[in-house]
């Protein structure tokens, strides 16, 4: 099989286009910050970003002006506060968005993965949410007569994923919290992956149940240690909660957020520079505060 191992910048350059619908992996765990930052550095525009529960990477990409539309279940800084850039963009009428639920977003991706245009569900029939989702259809079950919502499929052009391991052919080994990460990847036309560490195909075959995305579905894979900072990677490093608290304060004002983008994205041409900005002390602290589980 073809060698799909490329640099971080090539992984993005070869797969993403202006205007793409991009699924962002990482439900709190293994959020693909390195891939997201690279998209911003390469200046892509008019993206539609989607996933169920977002992390601050979503908000940051909105702040950078890369996002035309956000399609989500939750958009914020989990456990800390609002998506501050999103909040301002909504107020300014500067962004399109669709309010789904986390389950609805997962079903939308699941429908695309299953190759059907919709899946029936019981949610989104009462309350105000169905009213603000334009053109949401219902149907009566042909067997039981029950009224069900038709959750439309959502097929991303590209999925960005971070994982623990891959071989160079693109078999992706991933464990720890998933959320809708794998579902979103398998729903997409192209899958771009950054991993902590390349391993050999023979090692992939030792834990075939932990291979979550098969090589033939992957477009490009890049080895990017710490590629999910400030989020965490099970078996590798802990979550930089402080960074998320800091972001909440910084993101409240355009100017400080612009400086954040400059410091953490545009002034870091590569991930090595980024890690120097994080600093060795912080990295060693996060390494120590990772979960007790070893890489598997």
């Amino acid at each position: 099989m073809a060698d799909k191992a490329v640099s971080l910048s090539d992984a993005v350059a070869r797969t993403v286009k202006d205007g793409d619908t991009v699924f962002i992996g990482g439900f709190g765990h293994a959020v693909p910050f390195a891939l997201g930052h690279e998209i911003l550095r390469q200046g892509f525009k008019n993206l539609t970003l989607c996933r169920s529960g977002t992390d601050i990477l979503f908000d940051l990409m909105i702040a950078a002006g890369a996002v035309k539309k956000a399609v989500f279940g939750y958009l914020g800084n989990p456990g800390i506060g609002l998506g501050q850039a999103f909040r301002r963009a909504v107020k300014a009428g500067a962004i399109e968005y669709e309010d789904w639920t986390n389950f609805a977003m997962i079903l939308r991706l699941h429908a695309a993965r299953l190759g059907v245009p919709f899946l029936p569900a019981r949610i989104l029939q009462i309350g105000d949410m169905p009213n603000v989702l334009p053109d949401l259809k219902t149907l009566d079950c042909p067997y039981t007569g029950e009224q069900l919502t038709c959750i439309p499929a959502l097929k991303p052009d590209v999925a960005l994923i971070h994982a623990q391991h891959a071989d160079r052919e693109g078999n992706i080994k991933f464990y720890g919290i998933d959320g809708d990460t794998v579902e979103g990847a398998l729903a997409a036309d192209k899958i771009v992956v950054s991993v902590e560490h390349f391993i050999e195909p023979e090692q992939i075959a030792e834990t075939p149940e932990l291979t979550r995305i098969p090589a033939h579905r992957v477009t490009a894979v890049a080895e990017v240690p710490w590629g999910a900072h400030p989020s965490y990677v099970e078996g590798f490093y802990g979550r930089d909660d402080t960074h998320f608290y800091d972001y909440d304060k910084i993101a409240r004002e355009d100017e400080s957020l612009r400086q954040y983008l400059q410091k953490w994205v545009y002034d870091c041409p590569d991930r090595r520079t980024y890690l120097e900005t994080v600093g060795a002390e912080k990295l060693s602290e996060l390494k120590a505060h990772g979960s007790g589980r070893e890489p598997r």
């Binding site: 939750y74 309010d99 639920t101 019981r122 949610i123 009462i126 309350g127 579902e183 099970e234």
Partner: protein, 244 residues
Amino acid sequence: MSALPAAAALALAGARELADNDVCFVGIGNPSDAALLAKHTHAPGMTLIYESGVIGSDPKTPPLSTGSPSVSDGAMMIADGLSVFAELQAGRIDVGLLSAAQVDRLGNLNSTVIGEYAEPKLRLVGSGGAHDIACLAQRLVILMPHDPRRFVDRVDFITSPGVDKKRAALKLGSGPAALVTDRARFTFETGEARLAAVMPGFTAAQALEGIPWTVSKTADFQVIERFEPAAVETASRRLDYLFA
């Protein structure tokens, strides 16, 4: 007034809603605190499920999000979001625990927007799994700090539906069983929230302070004299951050 911090009282009041062997779909914050407390006091057989796909979770430290490391550390099973929402929709989750920015007299919850949806005063984070839990859990327990700004006559936006006559026909969960604050317990047998109990240290007047609609009492209105000392002790040890 109770000597307990409000957050600790809310966790203790919330834990009372949970029974041993309950299967709970748990939101972050107050819901997670209450569920953990119940599991470590009177309900050791409870199963905690987080929307990130973790089942049989027992966080050692309070998770910031359902995807945080402490949710999966030591958990019995890591599945995915589809798996756990499937259980919810199939009616296999006994209790859903939610909090929100606003609650109203029908137990409707808002986590989407303050003001008009189309012209928001403040855009919030959106549903996440809250709408799903509110619709699909067999029993819904709402946990809210007693903060009068968060109690409104009609929420600005119904993210997570409370009492709704269409639930039965749509085969949804039965809706809010209880709304719990650090001062009181409300129930919805007649549709609107009624005061069913006051928590230790509070009078009915204090429990209703600032609530902008007229609240009646249930026939079996209770004064809860005290939380179980063992629960308070466990809370102070296991959820020490609530006492900080």
